[in-house]
């Protein structure tokens, strides 16, 4: 019992600590791909600490909501991230929330972020919020359809169960799973505001989506939001890895040895996926905002197709 | 009843239908009124004949009413109205004479068909009489709807009513026949007076029902 709780706690801390590292790694790889030196891996940590130290410049019009939001966003994202199996499945509190809840938690984080964007009353906040909800209104259904198809294969929306099933031999190779994987990747890109949907490094307000919403944030508030963003990326990466590369995942109530193996495997998966992401992002260019619906529409269609295929195949 | 009486009754009833056709044919007011007078006379005869063969004496009263009131009073009154009103002699018929006659023939056949479906057990005289009466009624209606002029419409209505009286008298031992004929005479008097009244009240410049209808309920 105590051990289980400890493992759960370890996982929470792990995701918190790993998230900036993942970002740093991605940036590093991208820089290298562009033949640049690139910032050191620990740069994100430094950024966060510096932001913590800086004073907060609050817009005159900002309300209490604006100041509470960063903590809400951070908390929701952290909890969501902590509920995704990273190195071990079936943790103490894993049954608190299934995949649908995790998606919804991210949804509530986004909800408040959009509100905060509109709170100050500048046009940039409005731009960001309206574009964000438009993207989300397509990404969320796609995500839920992916959840459906996973749940239909594994017969559960409980991530541990899904992972266990995907690890088991009877899963086999399925077209629909491939489709959902592609869809999931596309959704993940959109949700994390990565290229080609959005450019995390842009400084041109009119092209911003995510950045525009948090344009007014500074200091410790910004640090919270940044950290939440890092956590979100980590969440999606570990989600993909635990569902589609479930190997080495420590099973329910496993001993320290299995856990160690799981952790090692997890780090390896993270590295691989981060590299893939970096390569992809350097390979493609950012698309215009109103191409995004087509992009996500494709994801939606893929997910729906995958689900339908499953329904059909199930009856055969 | 023996053949002769039957034939006479039949003859009279038939000739009433014939006179109705003559009315359909008329297109001048005076002539129409005269023909109607003839219609009334024939009716009086047939009613009297019925009274005789059924020896129902009260029917003689009906006959008398028909003779005096319809054959004399009303036509004279209508003549005077027409002169008083000085309305032009021609009847502008809504439908041409030819089609009207054809329609009339159709109506007569229709009434024949209807009445011949009646079981033969019924009193044959009643059947024939009814067939004729029905045709007269339909013809009277036809006159009413094919004439524009109020006077001729009144005439049509009266011929229709003659058909009723014929039917009523043809029905053996039907009570209230006299009262009914009286009531109808009063009704007709009302109508005639109405036509007349509208004239003297200076409300309508002619009794042409079309003019009378210019208001037509609700103005657009």
């Amino acid at each position: 019992m105590i051990f289980q709780l400890a493992v759960q706690g370890a996982q929470m801390l792990l995701v918190l600590l790993l998230a900036p590292l993942l970002i740093g790694f991605v940036r590093k790889v991208k820089a290298r791909l562009l033949r640049r030196q690139g910032p050191p891996l620990i740069q994100p940590y430094r950024d966060l600490i510096r932001l913590m130290r800086k004073e907060v410049v609050l817009a005159d019009n900002a309300s209490w909501l604006f100041r509470v939001t960063p903590y809400l966003i951070f908390a929701a994202t952290w909890v969501a991230a902590a509920l995704v199996p990273t190195f071990a499945a079936g943790l103490e509190f894993s049954w608190t929330a299934d995949l649908i809840v995790i998606v919804a938690l991210l949804g509530s984080a986004r909800f408040f972020q959009a509100l905060a964007g509109m709170d100050v009353g500048t046009s940039f906040g409005g731009i960001g919020a309206s574009r964000e909800v438009m993207i989300a209104s397509l990404a969320e259904p796609a995500m839920l359809l992916i959840v459906f198809s996973l749940a239909l294969v594994a017969g559960a929306t409980q991530l541990s169960t899904v992972a266990a099933f995907m690890g088991s031999p009877e899963v086999g190779l399925r077209v629909s799973l491939g489709m959902s994987l592609i869809a999931l990747v596309m959704v993940a890109i959109a949700e994390n505001a990565r290229i080609p949907v959005d450019n995390p490094a842009t400084h041109l307000e009119l092209t911003m989506v995510h950045e525009a919403m948090i344009l007014e944030y500074s200091g410790r508030h910004l640090a919270m939001i940044e950290l939440a963003t890092f956590l979100k990326l980590l969440l999606y990466v570990s989600l993909i890895s635990c569902v589609f590369l479930p190997w080495g995942l420590a099973s329910v109530g496993a001993g320290p040895k299995a856990l160690a193996i799981g952790a090692a495997a997890y780090l390896a998966k993270l590295a691989v996926l981060a590299i893939l992401l970096a390569v992809f992002e350097t390979a493609v260019a950012k698309m215009r905002v109103f191409r995004v619906p087509d992009f996500l529409g494709a994801a939606l269609m893929l997910a729906l197709l995958g689900t339908l295929l499953l329904f059909v195949s199930r009856s055969l | 009843m023996n053949g002769l009486t039957f034939d006479i009754a039949h003859l009279l009833a038939g000739s009433l239908v014939l006179v109705s056709f003559m009315m359909l044919y008329q297109d001048r007011l005076f002539a129409l009124i005269n023909v109607f007078a003839l219609h009334a006379v024939v009716l009086a005869l047939s009613v009297a004949w019925q009274a005789y063969i059924q020896d129902a004496h009260h029917l003689y009263i009906t006959a008398a009413i028909a003779l005096v009131f319809k054959a004399i009073v009303i036509p004279v009154g209508l003549h005077r109205i027409i002169q008083r009103l000085g309305i032009h002699r021609d009847i502008e018929t809504a439908v041409g004479i030819g089609p009207t006659m054809l329609a009339g023939i159709g109506l007569v056949t229709l009434s024949m068909v209807l009445m011949l479906r009646v079981t033969p057990e019924a009193d044959p005289l009643a059947r024939e009489d009814l067939a004729f009466a029905l045709s007269i009624i339909l013809l009277g209606l036809l006159v009413m709807v094919t004439r524009r002029n109020a006077v001729s419409q009144v005439v049509g209505f009266m011929s229709l009513e003659n058909g009723l009286v014929l039917a009523a008298t043809g029905a053996k031992g039907m009570p209230l026949v006299v009262e009914i004929s009286v009531a109808f005479s009063i009704l007709i008097a009302f109508i005639v007076i109405g036509v007349f009244l509208f004239r003297i009240r200076e409300r309508f410049d002619s009794v042409d029902v079309g003019a009378l209808d210019d208001y037509r309920g609700e103005r657009q």
């Binding site: - | 009445m115 019924a122 029905l134 039907m174 209230l176 009914i180 009704l187 109508i191 009378l212």
Partner: protein, 483 residues
């Protein structure tokens, strides 16, 4: 006991007749109004006494049976309330000078003669006598419709008169045909016209004759019921006559004609080979309903609007009786009673409204619930009732008609519901304009007699919630008679 009860029947006829004679003699209009009300009240009491007294055996001329008692009581009751209403209404007319004292004398006398005619039509056991009575009632109303002597009034009266006379003639021919059919079986003489005798022997009558007879009777009396396409006289007569007469026309005279049709329907139903009256009546009912429903939309005159709604409801009633069966007949009876009460109440309200607003044009009347709450809400309740909304009586009858029809002949229910909906839309549309919005038109306070209209509405409301068991049993029995 028999003696007294015969007096009751006689009273129903004699009180109006006598009152008519007196009224014709009286000069003062206030007094005539009072006498009129008193006479109507006495007649009502006499009618009510029919319930408690034992009935006479049907004679050659008069009859009291379950069927006509309903009609008589309704008739005398509405006659009474209308008398009360007209007392206040006519007073206003006299002040505004639309009517003169001699007019009024004539008016009240005619009113009583009309009541006499209608009562006679109800109690008569002799189809000839019934015919005479109906015509008497009709002709008196013709005279009263024309009482304003305006161009429109005379024209409406004339139209009513001509079409009515044709109807009279057709009905008479039908009556003669019935006699001809009966005479071989029953034998010559009055007996062949006594309804209670006919109904027993009807099975042996000649079916073909009966069928022709029924068509003439349906058209003849149907003209007075106001069934499309024989309705032409009805809207104008309602719109141009004095409002009490509109109320009586809609509330009573239509019922009289309907009653006659029903009597002959029974006769025909008793003879199996004859043409079925049901399909004819259903067709005419649906035609009138849908036709009137559409006509409601383009009406500009408030009284003409409700006249058309009367046509619509007569259509529903005839449809119900045409459907037959215990449920539909019950609904038909209920609907007839409810319609009489509601429609007369509406006309009471409309009469006062037209007086205070000084116009009958719908477009010039607005926001009544603000300018004259008493009248406005009465109108709202009345229209809500007539549109068949609960918790008022007409809802129950329409509920029964529609549901029972749909269960038996779904394809008949569709046009029925269609017509109901169309009419509903029109009525509510007009109501919205009349009762709500920025008040328009005269806002002078009105000394209206609220008692008649609200008592009617209260009755309708009560009936929608609760029908007393004896009344129900009564109606069910009558519905049984109607087959």
């Amino acid at each position: 006991m028999t003696a007294f009860s015969f007096n009751a029947v006689a009273a129903i006829l004699l009180i109006p007749a006598g009152a008519a004679a007196i009224l014709a003699a009286l000069p003062n209009y206030k007094m005539t109004a009072v006498v009129n009300v008193v006479a109507s009240l006495l007649t009502l009491l006499a009618a009510l006494s029919l319930f408690i007294t034992e009935r006479p055996a049907p004679g050659q001329y008069l009859i009291i049976d379950d069927l006509n008692i309903v009609f008589i009581v309704l008739n005398t009751f509405v006659g009474f309330t209308t008398g009360v209403f007209s007392a206040s209404y006519i007073g206003h007319e006299l002040e505004t000078g639309r009517l003169t004292a001699p007019n009024l004398r004539f008016y009240h006398a005619m009113y009583q003669i009309m009541m006499f005619g209608m009562n006679l039509a109800f109690v008569s056991n002799n189809i000839g006598l019934m015919w005479v009575a109906v015509e008497l009632a009709t002709l008196t109303t013709v005279l009263m419709v024309g009482i304003y002597r305006t161009h429109e009034a005379l024209e409406a009266a004339w139209k009513y008169f001509i079409l009515g006379s044709v109807g009279i003639a057709l009905a008479l021919f039908g009556t003669i045909l019935v006699y001809m059919a009966a005479q071989p079986v029953v034998g010559e003489g009055t007996n062949a016209m006594v309804w209670s005798v006919l109904i027993e022997k009807a099975a042996h009558f000649d079916p073909a004759l009966l069928s022709v007879a029924f068509i003439f009777l349906l058209l003849g009396y149907g003209t007075k019921v106001g069934l499309a396409p024989l309705h032409a006289w009805l809207p104008d007569a309602h719109a141009e006559g004095p409002t009490p007469i509109s109320a009586v026309l809609s509330g009573l005279l239509l019922n009289v004609a309907l009653y006659a049709v029903l009597r002959f329907k029974l006769l025909l139903a008793a003879s199996p080979e004859a043409i079925g009256p049901g399909p004819l009546m259903v067709t005419m009912g649906l035609t009138s309903l849908i036709f009137a429903a559409f006509m409601l939309y383009r009406r500009r005159d408030i009284k003409r609007l409700f006249a058309y709604s009367s046509i619509e409801h007569m259509g529903i009633i005839v449809f119900a009786f045409g459907m037959g069966g215990p449920l539909a007949n019950f609904a038909g009876l209920l609907h007839m009673v409810m319609h009489s009460l509601t429609k007369s109440a509406i006309f009471f309200a409309v009469g006062h409204i037209a007086q205070v607003k000084g116009t009958q044009k719908i477009s010039e009347i607005r926001g009544l619930t603000e300018s004259h709450p008493g009248l406005g809400w009465a109108l709202v309740i009345g229209v809500v009732a007539i549109a068949g909304l609960p918790p008022l009586g007409i809802f129950m009858s329409e509920f029964l008609v529609v549901s029972s029809t749909f269960a038996r002949h779904p394809w008949l229910a569709i046009p029925l519901v269609f017509g109901l909906l169309i009419a509903f839309g029109a009525l509510v549309l007009r109501l919205t304009g009349l009762a709500f919005g920025e008040p328009r038109g005269g806002t002078a306070p009105v000394e209206a007699s609220y008692v008649p209209m609200y008592s009617h509405l209260a009755l309708v409301f009560a009936a929608g919630i609760y029908l007393p068991a004896p009344l129900v049993a009564w109606f069910q029995h009558v519905a049984g008679i109607l087959g």
